[in-house]
Every structure is written in structure tokens, then in C-alpha cells.
């Protein structure tokens, strides 16, 4: 058998079922590995696996790292924000409860951009997460911690959330698999809201098979989430070896020249592999996709401005000292509790909803959303999948884009349209490329999007492609293969 920590979660699971692996010892080994976090990836760890409220009696599934955006009863939950410092929720998120019931010990809570607002993890109130491939670079965001722990050998797998790319982009920048399921596939209950109509929970794993296993645990209709539906049938482990008879669309409009040359090369090579597996490639129009960023940066901040209004220093979380009336208390608390990016988006969203601007911004953005969903619908009339690079670039340097919000937002160029359409999309590692500024090679992600609720088909295709790509690179000192 491979070295313990080199096992995929699926291999470990099968070994446990076969009685060849003691689940508790395995979890213990991972807790020890997690203790060696040098990436600032964990905000809290369950050192001894006995945290009341979330402890698992008898483990039977690989232990897991959970983005700090999921409420965990009695366990610190901050969403990467100062305003929730020391907050211990009185309840546990449905997704986490399902993990615990499945027998997956919770290794810890992972660092993230404050309230999931960011693409680099530099917006965490608790410091940036470092990219395990190059610690001078960002892991991506907002689920940077969850991506880093899996890529960095600090957890076998993890869950995060994706609103406009927050699973797929960090997965790409860290060289692992990240899946954003169809909106409604997994309950949002207990998942701290950023943009309610876009937020979706999903897996970070080393392989597509692991993603399928984790999705099977997480998915399902939840009576606590009126917008949850679950998947038509429980996901099976993907076993497809070829792509014959499948048609892959490359959106003409997204062939943006903002793509790094290295990323483009890997993307082209991956298209060739698809054809090698019998898949068909053709350009397809997604005329409105290019407006995705504009629509997204109206809709998401608008919803966020309302979702984050509850952090007012009255019932939980921090309250800044203030004299005077309750309004002064609100303003002082929110001024001190929120970071710059969160303030920026609250301002943007409040403005977009304020009287006189609603129709021009929020209303118009909702219509663009309709058009983008329509574009995908018609694309899926002729195609099985839409493919793009996950991110226009490989991992960029810490601080490189912090003072240019718009440039930062454009990282989500390829991932936002699928979020707006509510369709599933997966990012798999497709190879390594040199950053435009030069330096050691870094992972490149390949994004595949499918029609709503077509997760099984998506996982099968991604699995076949994964095998053909055979990506087995690992950051320095991380067991793998």
C-alpha cells in the first residue's frame, strides 16, 4: 500500500471498507500533518479530534478540512472576518452535519477571504494563505485555505464555497480538483451568506473520483433550505475512459487576450487530449458571457450588502465601543469589524439597490443573467460541455493586484458566467506553466461546464480527461503520485 498520506480519499475509503486501514489511525495521521501548517491555511484545528459539537465517534471516511464559512456548533466560525472574531455558532451547517454523519472527522476550519469576497485570500482578517507551490504567491480565493490544505498535504480533501469562482479558481492555482455543483445541489443552510442566489458549496480534492465521493455525501434536498433540490440521482464513481461522441464547446467570446501565454499553451494541449480521447471540439457563441463580470459585480455586492447588514453588534460578534445612540454603535462596529474589500462591496451593492439606480444596475444585471443562462442553454443544444481555462493566469504574487480591485475582479472572467447560469463546472489540473513574469512552473486549471444537474456526466468526462492528462506533480515535500 502507498504511504498513508499519499492515498486519495477514495483509496483510503476503500481500504477502510476492506478493513485494511484503521480509520482512526488514518485520521490521527492527518491531524498530525495538519499541525504542520506553515501556509496560514487553518484558522482553527481540532488537535485531538474531540471538539464537542462536531466530534465523530467512529470515523469511517477520510477526515476533512472545512472552509471557515460553514457554521460549526461551539467551534469558532469567523468567515475570515474581524467582526466574527471569537464567535461560536449555536448550530451546525447542513453540509458539515452530513460529513459528520458520514463519519468524516473535521480536521479544522480553513482560512478564506473575508466573507468569501476575494480571489487571492489576501482579504482575510487573519492574514493571507500562502500557495504551497510558491509561498510568495497567492493560492487564489476565496476558498484559498481549503485549496492550500489539499494541495499542501495538510488534508486529504476539503469543502469550500463558490459564488463567482471561489472553488474553481483556487483549485486551479493550487493544482487540484475543484467542483462547483449546480445551484441547489447542496444545502446552503449554515453556510454564511455572501450572495445568496449564487453561493454554492463544493469539494476540493486531489482526484475527480474523490470529488464524486464527496459530492455524494454532501448533495441532497434540505428542508432548511427552500432553494435546495439535490441531484436527480446519487453520484456514482466515474469510470469513463474515453470521450467519444461528446461535443466540447470553446466560447469564442472568452478567447480573451488577457490569458497568459503559458496558460493558453496548456489549454490548447488539453483540447488536443480531448480530441485524442474521441471528443469533438468546436467554437460556440456565448455572446453575453463577456458581460458576466459586470452583472456579477452588481448582483453579488447587492445581495451581500443585505446579507451582511445583520453584523450590527447587537446579538453576536464584535461591538466597537461608542458613545451616543445605536446608529453610532452600528457605524463604529461595522467600520472596525469589516475589511476594505467587504466595505467596498457593501458600498457598491447598497448603491446599486438605492432608489434611482435599481433599474439601471440591479434590474439590468438580472436581465443580463437571463441572457447568459440563455446562451448556455442554446450552447447545450449542440454541445455536451463548455470548456475554458479556469483562470486567465497561474498563481500571481502576493500584493500584486491588491491595489487594483478591477484587475482582481477580472480573475473571475471565466468562472462567473457559470455561476450566473447556476450550472455545474469543474476545474481539473491540466499541467504546469511558467508565470508571465518568469519563475518556477505553476499549475494551470482546465474548466469544464455542463448543463444543470448533469454532474454525473461532468464527472465521467472529467475523470476520462484526468487520466489522459496524468497530472502527478506535487509541491515540494508533499507526498503524492
Amino acid at each position: 500500500m502507498k504511504e498513508l498520506l499519499a492515498l486519495t480519499a477514495l483509496e483510503a475509503h476503500e481500504a477502510m471498507v476492506a478493513g485494511e486501514l484503521d480509520a482512526s489511525e488514518y485520521a490521527e495521521a492527518w491531524r498530525a500533518a495538519a499541525a504542520g501548517d506553515e501556509l496560514n491555511a487553518y484558522l482553527w484545528r481540532d488537535e485531538d479530534g474531540d471538539a464537542p459539537g462536531i466530534a465523530v465517534e467512529r470515523p469511517s471516511v477520510a477526515p476533512i478540512a472545512v472552509k471557515d464559512i460553514f457554521c460549526t456548533e461551539g467551534v469558532p466560525t469567523t468567515a475570515g472576518s474581524r467582526i466574527l472574531e471569537g464567535y461560536r455558532p449555536p448550530y451546525t451547517a447542513t453540509a458539515v452535519r452530513k460529513l459528520i454523519e458520514a463519519g468524516a472527522p473535521i480536521l479544522g476550519k480553513t482560512n478564506m477571504d473575508e466573507f468569501a469576497m476575494g480571489s487571492s485570500n489576501e482579504n482575510s482578517a487573519y492574514g493571507p494563505v500562502l500557495n504551497p507551490w510558491d509561498r510568495s504567491r497567492v493560492p487564489g480565493g476565496s476558498s484559498g485555505g481549503s485549496a492550500a490544505v489539499v494541495a499542501g498535504g495538510l488534508a486529504p480533501w476539503a469543502i469550500g464555497t463558490d459564488t463567482g469562482g471561489s472553488i474553481r479558481q483556487p483549485a486551479a492555482l493550487c493544482g487540484i480538483v475543484g467542483l462547483k455543483p449546480t445551484y441547489g445541489a447542496i444545502s446552503r443552510y449554515g453556510m454564511i451568506a455572501f450572495a445568496s442566489s449564487l453561493d454554492q458549496c463544493g469539494p476540493f480534492t486531489r482526484t475527480v473520483g474523490d470529488a464524486a465521493l464527496l459530492l455524494a455525501i454532501l448533495q441532497g434536498r434540505d428542508p432548511c433550505d427552500s432553494t435546495s433540490i439535490g441531484l436527480p440521482e446519487a453520484p456514482r464513481l466515474p469510470d469513463r475512459e474515453d470521450l467519444s461522441g461528446l461535443r466540447f464547446a470553446v466560447p469564442a467570446e472568452l478567447a480573451s487576450d488577457a490569458i497568459e501565454p503559458g496558460v493558453r499553451v496548456v489549454f490548447e494541449a488539453t483540447l488536443a487530449k480531448i480530441e485524442g480521447l474521441g471528443g469533438e471540439i468546436a467554437e460556440a457563441p456565448l455572446p453575453h458571457a463577456e458581460h458576466g463580470i459586470s452583472a456579477y459585480y452588481v448582483l453579488a455586492p447587492a445581495e451581500a450588502s443585505s446579507n451582511l447588514a445583520r453584523y450590527d453588534g447587537v446579538r453576536y460578534g464584535m461591538r466597537a465601543p461608542s458613545s451616543g445612540d445605536v446608529i453610532e454603535m452600528y457605524e463604529a462596529t461595522r467600520a472596525e469589524g469589516f475589511g476594505a474589500e467587504v466595505k467596498r462591496r457593501i458600498m457598491l451593492g447598497t448603491y446599486a439597490l438605492s432608489s434611482g439606480y435599481y433599474d439601471a444596475y440591479y434590474g439590468q444585471a438580472q436581465k443580463v443573467r437571463t441572457k447568459i443562462a440563455g446562451d448556455f442553454k442554446s450552447a447545450f443544444d449542440d454541445f455536451d460541455f463548455v470548456v475554458t481555462p479556469t483562470s486567465p493566469s497561474v498563481a500571481f504574487g502576493l500584493g500584486e493586484k491588491t491595489d487594483d480591485p478591477l484587475a482582481m475582479y477580472l480573475n473571475d472572467f471565466f468562472t462567473v458566467p457559470m455561476s450566473l447560469a447556476g450550472i455545474p463546472a469543474i476545474s481539473i489540473p491540466a499541467g504546469l506553466a511558467e508565470p508571465s513574469g518568469g519563475g518556477p512552473q505553476l499549475p494551470v486549471g482546465f474548466q469544464i461546464a455542463a448543463p444543470a444537474f448533469a454532474e454525473q456526466k461532468l464527472l465521467d468526462a472529467a475523470h476520462a480527461l484526468e487520466k489522459a492528462i496524468g497530472f502527478d506533480a506535487r509541491p515540494q515535500g508533499v507526498p503524492g503520485g
Binding site: A193, A309, T350
Partner: protein, 479 residues
């Protein structure tokens, strides 16, 4: 200056008597310890989501049916964003541009809309506090927060304070009989605000309106609106302008005070609630609501006028509460051959009076007077077995001890003198005893007859039929 008329519309918040809150499973309560009916959802903890209470939808549809509203095929919820400590999410989930119920009517007032929303929490001001200079502190209790509300908005169809109060009473009775709310104004399960303006009679457009709040009884509602109408009339007649503002009614001295707004900038930034899906009532949901409706006061009063041809006021009086209405219908069923109109008069007149006499607050239905008993009493009087006067005596006895009218008539010997021979001699004797009255009558002074009739009634203890007595006297004194 042209005659002014009042233009009044009402906005009514009805707390639904569901078991649990609008969006979470916390039980509703009144007067419990603070914050014992709270959960992560109604405390707006991070990550929670609302789920609509099925029963609240059913109750809203019952109200819609009772108010003859058009039900929206697909209504949605919005977020009304504002910061205030009684609003834990800092937004209220409320129906905005597509309410569950549209145009309807109750009595002769048109309903503009009725929509579902959630109630705010309670705040108690606790005065100055050491750490907070300038302003005092308040305590927030979230027990009430999230209670289901139906907000009913009328068209400005009311023309006086009294009319407004009377209509509000009709609405209260109607909602109470639906069994969807306690509709208790003192406890706040029924809250009525007024939109008030004035305009020259005959003019069609509306004047500047003020919003009147905090009238927590029907008396205060009427007094508050009256006070505001007087104030507006004064302004207009003095050639001044009515400012659009919200006024708070102070019951202690009947004064009105302008209310400063919660948000100096009133911009609620409404947008569709992304955590909830649309409510699209199915045929079955609508049928269940319709079929669960009892006969409501307005409809019952109409039926009494149309089918039993009772006068409008009597019909309304009987129809107001179902117990009295049932008592009346039972009685007139028993009193076969007697006109419903007559029975109605006995129930709303003599019986009501007799109960008041006895100092009984008890309604007819709760009194000792069985419908059957009252029915036979009324029949006796109708058939002249006893006089109307004796009828009242018997009724008093029935109110006091219940039982059968016949036995009481027997016991008290109240049966009308039917033997005309006996009556004849009593009349003769009375004439003997009052010669001067007799003289005047012969002289053509009809009024004088009263003295002799009185004497006869005294002698017969009211058991004689007045008409018959008059006839005999006139006969004997030949005119």
C-alpha cells in the same frame, strides 16, 4: 370656501395565530420571559435561511377569500432593508410588488391589497445608563420577532372617524370568526393605522395625507382620527398646508405628535428575497381556504335583510356575532308562524333590555332563556293569550330563573281575561267609580278614557287586552 370631506384609508396589521413563527419553528407567545422563543433563524445568526410557514399561507388565503380579494397566481417575497435593533437581519421579509392578495372588499370599503410579512421584535427603553452618555439604553426581546403578519390596506373609502371605527370593528369580527388571529388591539395582535386627508366635497383627487399610528383601541382609533381631522380642517381653513408626515396618537391627552423616522433617509432598497421561492396557490389550496370560511357578519346581515326582510340596523346587530345570530335563528325557527322581524325585535329589544335589567353581561345565547321558551312567549303575546305587558313580566322571570313561559303565566295568573262577561262587569264597575271621567267622555273628550282604562288594568293586573277594554268603554258610553 368649499365644504371639506374626510378621506380615510386604513392599514391593518393582523398577527396570525399560527403555532410557530413565519420563517422558523419557534412557538408564538405573549408575555413570556424575554428571548425564550428564539433560535438561530429568528436571531439572524450567520448562515441561517427562512422557510415559509405553510399555515400562514393558508390563513392569508382565508383572509383573502373573506375579503373577496383576487389571489395572485404567483406572489413573491422581497427584502425591506433598514437598520434597527428590533430587526435582527436588518431587513424585513415582506411581500412588496406582488402581494398574495389584491383588490377585494369588505362591506362597502374596497380592499387595495393584503400581504404576508414578519413582525419585528420588542424593545424596552431602560433609561440612562452609565456607559452610554447622551442617550439611554434599550433591551431587545426577540420572542415576538418573526411572528406572521398579514397587512391589509384599504382604499380611501371611509368618510368619518366613526365610520372608520365601525368598519374596523367589522373587520375585527370578520377576522376573529375566520379563527386566524386573536385580533386583540391591546395586546397588539391587531394594529390599525390611518391614512388621513381632506378634500373639497366633489373633488376627485386626494389631498396630502398624514399617517396616524398607535391607536390601540377602537375608541382611540376614533378619537385619534377625529383629532387629526380637526387639525387638518383647521390648517386648511387657515389657508395653511397639511405636511405629509407620520403622527403618533397619545391616548392620555388625545394629542398627536409627529414621529421622527427610523432612517433619516427612507430608502428601503427592496429587492426579491433570494432565499425564498414563489408562492403559487394551487386550486386545492384555494378551495381549502374557501371551504373553511364560516358565514361572515357582512354576508349574514345581507341574508337577514334579503330573506327575512329585517331592517338594516337590526340585521347588522344580530349578525355581528355568530352566537347571537344562532340564537335568533333558532328562536324564529321554534316560533313558527311568527314573523322573523317580530322575533328580531324581541331579541334585540325586550330580551336585551331584560338582560341589562338583570345586570347580566351575558349574551342571549348564554342566558337562561332557551330559544324555545322565548319562542313560545312571543307566540302567546302574538296570539293575545297574554298582554304585551305581561309578556315583559314573564321574560323578566325567564331571565332570572329560566323555565317554561306557560308555567310562569300559570303561576302568576297572567293569562289574558278571555271571558268577555267578566271583563264587561269590570269595565262597568270602573265607569261607576269614575263618574267625572265618564262625563267628559260622553262630552266627547276622548283623552279622558285613559283614567278608566287605567282603572281596569289596575283591577285586572294588566291581564286585559287594552284594545278590547277601549272598545267596551266606548260602547257603554255610547259614541
Amino acid at each position: 370656501m368649499a365644504e371639506l370631506e374626510a378621506v380615510i384609508g386604513l392599514e391593518i396589521h393582523v398577527q396570525l395565530a399560527t403555532r410557530t413563527k413565519m420563517f422558523c419553528g419557534c412557538e408564538l407567545s405573549f408575555g413570556d420571559e424575554p428571548n425564550v422563543h428564539t433560535c438561530p433563524i429568528c436571531l439572524a445568526h450567520p448562515g441561517v435561511l427562512p422557510v415559509v410557514n405553510e399555515q400562514a399561507i393558508h390563513y392569508a388565503l382565508k383572509i383573502a377569500a373573506a375579503l373577496e380579494c383576487e389571489v395572485a397566481p404567483r406572489s413573491i417575497f422581497h427584502r425591506k432593508n433598514y437598520f434597527y435593533p428590533d430587526s435582527p437581519k436588518a431587513y424585513q421579509i415582506s411581500q412588496y410588488d406582488i402581494p398574495i392578495a389584491g383588490a377585494g372588499r369588505l362591506g362597502d370599503v374596497r380592499i387595495h391589497r393584503a400581504h404576508l410579512e414578519e413582525d419585528a421584535a420588542k424593545m424596552i427603553h431602560v433609561g440612562e445608563s452609565g456607559r452610554i452618555h447622551g442617550s439611554g439604553a434599550s433591551l431587545v426581546d426577540f420572542n415576538r420577532g418573526g411572528t406572521p403578519l398579514v397587512e391589509i390596506v384599504t382604499e380611501p373609502d371611509l368618510r368619518s372617524a366613526a365610520e372608520a371605527a365601525a368598519w374596523a370593528r367589522l373587520l375585527r369580527e370578520t377576522v376573529r370568526q375566520l379563527g386566524v388571529s386573536d385580533v386583540n388591539m391591546e395586546e397588539g395582535s391587531l394594529r390599525v393605522d390611518g391614512n388621513i386627508s381632506m378634500r373639497p366635497v366633489g373633488s376627485e383627487e386626494l389631498g396630502t395625507k398624514t399617517e396616524l399610528k398607535n391607536m390601540n383601541s377602537f375608541r382611540f382609533l376614533e378619537r385619534g382620527i377625529e383629532a387629526e381631522l380637526v387639525r387638518q380642517r383647521g390648517l386648511i381653513e387657515a389657508g395653511e398646508k397639511v405636511e405629509q408626515e407620520t403622527l403618533h396618537f397619545h391616548p392620555e391627552d388625545g394629542s398627536l405628535h409627529p414621529l421622527r423616522s427610523k432612517e433619516e433617509a427612507h430608502d428601503y432598497r427592496y429587492f426579491p428575497e433570494p432565499d425564498l421561492v414563489a408562492i403559487a396557490p394551487t386550486e386545492e389550496m384555494l378551495r381549502e381556504a374557501r371551504e373553511s370560511l364560516p358565514e361572515l357578519p357582512a354576508a349574514r346581515a345581507q341574508r337577514y335583510q334579503d330573506e327575512l326582510d329585517l331592517p338594516e340596523d337590526v340585521a347588522a346587530l344580530l349578525a355581528a356575532d355568530p352566537e347571537t345570530a344562532g340564537y335568533f335563528e333558532q328562536t324564529s325557527k321554534e316560533a313558527s308562524g311568527v314573523e322573523p322581524r317580530v322575533v328580531a325585535n324581541w331579541v334585540t329589544g325586550e330580551l336585551a333590555a331584560a338582560l341589562r335589567q338583570e345586570g347580566r353581561e351575558a349574551s342571549a345565547s348564554e342566558s337562561k332563556v332557551e330559544p324555545a321558551a322565548l319562542a313560545s312567549l312571543i307566540s302567546m303575546v302574538q296570539e293575545k293569550k297574554i298582554s304585551h305587558g305581561s309578556g315583559k313580566t314573564v321574560l323578566a322571570a325567564l331571565v332570572a330563573e329560566g323555565g317554561e313561559p306557560a308555567t310562569i303565566v300559570e303561576r302568576e295568573g297572567l293569562a289574558q281575561i278571555s271571558d268577555s262577561g267578566e271583563l264587561d262587569s269590570i269595565v262597568a264597575a270602573a265607569i261607576e267609580a269614575n263618574p267625572e271621567a265618564a262625563e267628559q267622555i260622553r262630552a266627547g273628550n276622548g283623552k279622558a278614557i285613559g283614567a278608566i282604562v287605567g282603572a281596569v288594568m289596575k283591577e285586572t293586573k294588566g291581564r286585559a287586552d287594552g284594545g278590547e277594554v277601549n272598545r267596551l268603554i266606548k260602547e257603554k258610553l255610547g259614541d
